[in-house]
Amino acid sequence: MTAQTDMDPTPLDFDEAMERFDPVFGIEVHVELNTKTKMFCSCPTTFGAPPNTAVCPVCLGLPGSMPVVNHKAIESAIRLGLALHCSIAPSSRFARKQYFYPDVSKDYQISQYDEPIDADGYLDVTLADGSIFRVQIERAHMEEDAAKNTHIGGTGHIQGAAYSLVDYNRCGTPLIEIVTRPVEGTGAHVAEVARAYVAGLRDLVIALGISDARMDRGSIRADVNLSLRPKAAPGEDQSTVPLGRRSETKNVNSLRAIEQAIRFEAGRQAARLAAGLTVKQETRMWHEESKDTTPGRSKETAEDYRYFPEPDLLPVVPDPAWIEELRGTLPEPPAQRRARLQKEWGYSDLEMRDVVNAGAIDLVEQTVAAGVTAAAARKWWMGELARTANEQGVELVELTVTPQDIAELEQLIAGGKLNDKLARQALAGTLQGEGSPAHVMEARGLAVVSDDSALTKAVDDALAANPDIVEKIKGGKVKAAGAIVGAVMKATRGQADAGRVRELIMERVGV
């Protein structure tokens, strides 16, 4: 095959593609579990530790070492399966997926193959228009993560690199792979449904507490399959039209990228089909910078993984009583919980979505529980704090501020001890690790000056210094008083109650 015939025509516009073709997608999501130890050994699961420091004979695949299944990972897999309405296999097995590559220390990956622990479930996702779309889940299975390769020299990709380094810290981290059935019937909503599905899964694993669910750190990774088929003729059932050939796009590591990758692939495939070309069944890589996909490994020369049952491990046979016990630990389904909280808090759809997307739903809930109004809780978490988190490149939960701090802050404001501006300074102190807002207020001497004699003197000084303004006020230009308020606030280093200052000005000027 020459490069010429392999070239893609200019992609069609997404809307045009959707007018001409019917999309079908499928997603494989890898969720890294937040167990303390790895899938088959007692090494800690760490992120960011020095290379090759969280390793042992087992995860390094040293000769003679043997895997032992992490019980907590099985528990997580069962809970996720139950939350996805899957059936839990009375007996499931691990297999060896064999391929030679330095990032799998044994040159095979231990994964579940023909006997997964979870099968046949679904996840309902809510779309922007409020409608609910049911995504069918084929299976969810357990496996171990691979090591991390770093390619040195060249472009940082393996091609052209001078050499590569392997960090086995990640090798053996427990993963659950969740595989959908082909998702049909989305039409032009295909990208939205795909994104909503991954977002829904993310919310679910967070609610279950089984993963850190950080897409930016790769703790949730998605491979997106997409195919197009001709639109059904009028009167014909679309589902009877045979599926087209699919591409699988890897490296799609944000919700936005899922949407973009699907839109790009739809346009690319549509252009090929429209030009009378075929779509190659292949793996493609998503590029975040250029917002496009390029071919990866061709599936035509697909590797034969020579799967066979892992002889070093026994089948996983969970006690039915244990499964029922775990069913009792399932959290309220995230969509249901969101709807309930939105109603309780009186947020608009947009406000609620911002809170959800910022991962602030728990924080707001805890803040409200600590006695703050829902509106104030949202104001703090989505304003000042979201900005700070964004600047520092961290999650809201990672800030040093707690819901209790916000409650304390609000009490200080309500009690007249802090005004809005001072409250922000107190919060800044808390963010810098200076203690609770009340503590910062004391330490920094931020409390509002409410002593009238001190204020009166400051007002008199300001009036004396600005006779022209005093004249203007007397002449009925009440707005001019703002300049005096500003001068007083400056003199009191912002610690005065602006309302009281205005009253005093009017009193002294005599209007």
Binding site: P57, L60, G61, L62, P63, G64, S65, M66, P67, V68, V69, R96, Q98, F100, Y101, P102, S105, K106, D107, Y108, S164, V166, D304, R306, Y307, F308, P311, D312, L313, L314
Partner: protein, 528 residues
């Protein structure tokens, strides 16, 4: 037992004593562990040049362990029966700080950073580990000729094979270079060498002894077990290494069967009411006449001792060898994938072209693996390939189920099954090297137990044309004690006839050829 006395055998040589006797003398402080270690290292120096049972000796570690035991004993601390008794270790078991080669060039420089669980257990009870023994590369072979470090010779006839893959451990024990040794048995690698060297070897129930740290050939078949000169000695070692290991998911979570008591019970030679089954499929075609003669005599002995002997049909055993040679290479091809030059072992650059991951892996495996290993990797890779899996691996697993069913049915009728351990006595070095299929037939009688996970022992039952013949006793899973009871009964009856152990009839070994074993000073790295 007789009152303790200093060694009084004809040569006065400590190495001629049984492990049980050494244990008694140590307990009575008649002999020190250091003396035992010294005697065996001296013996290795004198005869291992001719036998080549050892790849490495570990004098410093052995003396250190011996001295620790001697000190503890002097202080009156409670010690286990094998404390101070030297043990040799098949080079397939990971020893922290001591190079572990598996008989392969690809691991010629691999120093484990951890101990196999059985090694940890032996160190804990204070057995000095005196060296690592030779083996067929990655335990693949029945003659020890497939070692990358040269063949081991049978102490009964240095021109003959000592069996395999554990020929080094069997020869070391048979040549009095060690009283005890560890082996591993995937298709007969403990029992077949025992049979052809006139020693005793047991494959325990699958899961009875931890495999953690045993470099895997075929994980569902491999089992670590004891090699010794007598049944009681084997039982003592079995008891020391057996038991549950949380690091091995396939290990049984139950106590070790009381094999020591069973060996002692058997020595009383009373088998009244014991039902013994002759495996109908393992007594005729392809078996050497001399082997069948000794076997018939042994059956007569069993009847003399009161056993009820009958023939039991195990029809699937006929297909066991075929199934084994699909399952074993399949698992081996997977287990040996990790030897890829990336993390340990040798690394070989390609002769020409760029050194990429693929070319280095290829060149290393080409240079590092021997022919038999490559043969099995190719076989196993093929058997697991898409489109062939069901016909080969899948069918073999079905045969395996049938073999297990045969055992189950048989053990409803009898307490134990017996057969000759091997169809022939030791063959000449080189004789079957170019005929793998003939070589594979050496294991025809031992393989069914591996497929079924059941225990088996081989005990010497005499000579055919001057070479040892072994009797195999097979028992139900988790009933290893039956192997020891029957084995000890046969041993006691025969030693009575022979006037002592069979090995007393072995010819004297030539002395003075320099040993090829590399003495290791201290450790060679690792993470102790």
């Amino acid at each position: 037992m007789s009152p303790v006395a200093a060694p009084t055998n004809e040569t006065g040589d400590l190495t001629r004593l049984s492990a049980a006797r050494m244990s008694e003398l140590l307990a009575a402080k008649e002999v020190s562990s250091r003396e035992l270690v010294q005697a065996h290292l001296d013996r290795i120096d004198r005869v291992d040049g001719a036998v080549h049972a050892f790849l490495r000796t570990m004098p410093e570690q052995a003396f250190e362990a011996a001295d620790a035991v001697d000190r503890a004993r002097a202080k009156g601390e409670a010690l286990g029966p094998l404390a101070g008794v030297p043990v040799a270790v098949k080079d397939v078991l990971a020893t922290n700080g001591t190079v572990t080669t598996c008989g392969s060039k690809i691991l010629e420089n691999w120093t484990p950073v951890y101990d196999a669980t059985v090694i940890e257990k032996l160190r804990a009870v204070g057995t000095p580990l005196i060296g690592k023994t030779n083996m067929d590369e990655f335990a693949m072979g029945s003659s020890t000729e497939h070692s990358a470090y040269g063949a081991t010779h049978n102490p009964w006839d240095l021109d003959r094979i000592p069996g395999g893959s554990g020929g080094g451990s069997a020869a070391a024990v048979g040549a009095f270079e060690a009283p005890l040794a560890l082996g591993s048995d995937t298709g007969g690698s403990i029992r077949q060498p025992a049979s052809v060297t006139g020693t005793v070897g047991t494959k325990p129930t699958y899961g009875g002894v931890s495999r953690y740290g045993l470099v895997a050939m075929a994980s569902s078949l491999d089992q670590v077990g004891p090699v010794a000169r007598g049944v009681l000695d084997a039982a003592l070692l079995h008891a020391a290494i057996g038991g549950h290991d949380p690091h091995d998911s396939t290990s049984l979570d139950e106590p070790v069967p009381d094999v020591v008591a069973a060996a002692k019970l058997g020595a009383a030679r009373d088998l009244k009411g014991v039902r013994v089954g002759i495996v109908g499929q393992l007594r005729g075609e392809g078996f050497q006449q001399g082997v069948l003669d000794r076997y018939a005599e042994a059956l007569g002995l069993l009847e003399d001792m009161g056993a009820e002997v009958s023939v039991v049909d195990c029809p699937s055993f006929e297909y066991a060898l075929g199934a084994y040679y699909l399952i074993m290479p399949s698992e081996a091809s997977s287990n040996l994938a990790r030897f890829d030059a990336m993390r340990y072992g040798i690394r070989v650059a390609p002769e020409s072209g760029p050194a990429t991951v693929e070319t280095v892996m290829g060149a290393t495996r080409e240079a590092g693996f021997g022919d038999e290993v490559k043969r099995r990797i190719i076989l196993g890779t093929y058997a697991l390939s898409a489109g062939y899996y069901d016909a080969y691996y899948g069918s073999a697993q079905k045969v395996r189920t049938l073999v297990q069913a045969d055992f189950r049915a048989a053990f409803e009728k009898v307490d134990v099954l017996v057969s000759p351990t091997t169809p022939t006595t030791a063959f000449k070095l080189g004789e079957k090297l170019d005929d793998p299929l003939q070589m594979y037939l050496s294991d025809v009688a031992t393989i069914p137990a591996n497929l079924a996970g059941t225990p088996g022992i081989s005990v010497p039952i005499g000579l055919a044309d001057g070479l040892p013949v072994g009797l195999q006793v097979l028992a139900p899973a988790r009933a290893d004690e039956w192997c020891y009871r029957l084995g000890a009964a046969v041993e006691a009856a025969l030693e009575d006839q022979w006037g002592g152990p069979l090995l007393n009839q072995a010819p004297a070994l030539p002395e003075g050829t320099a040993s090829a074993a590399k003495p290791v000073s201290g450790t060679e790295g690792g993470a102790r």
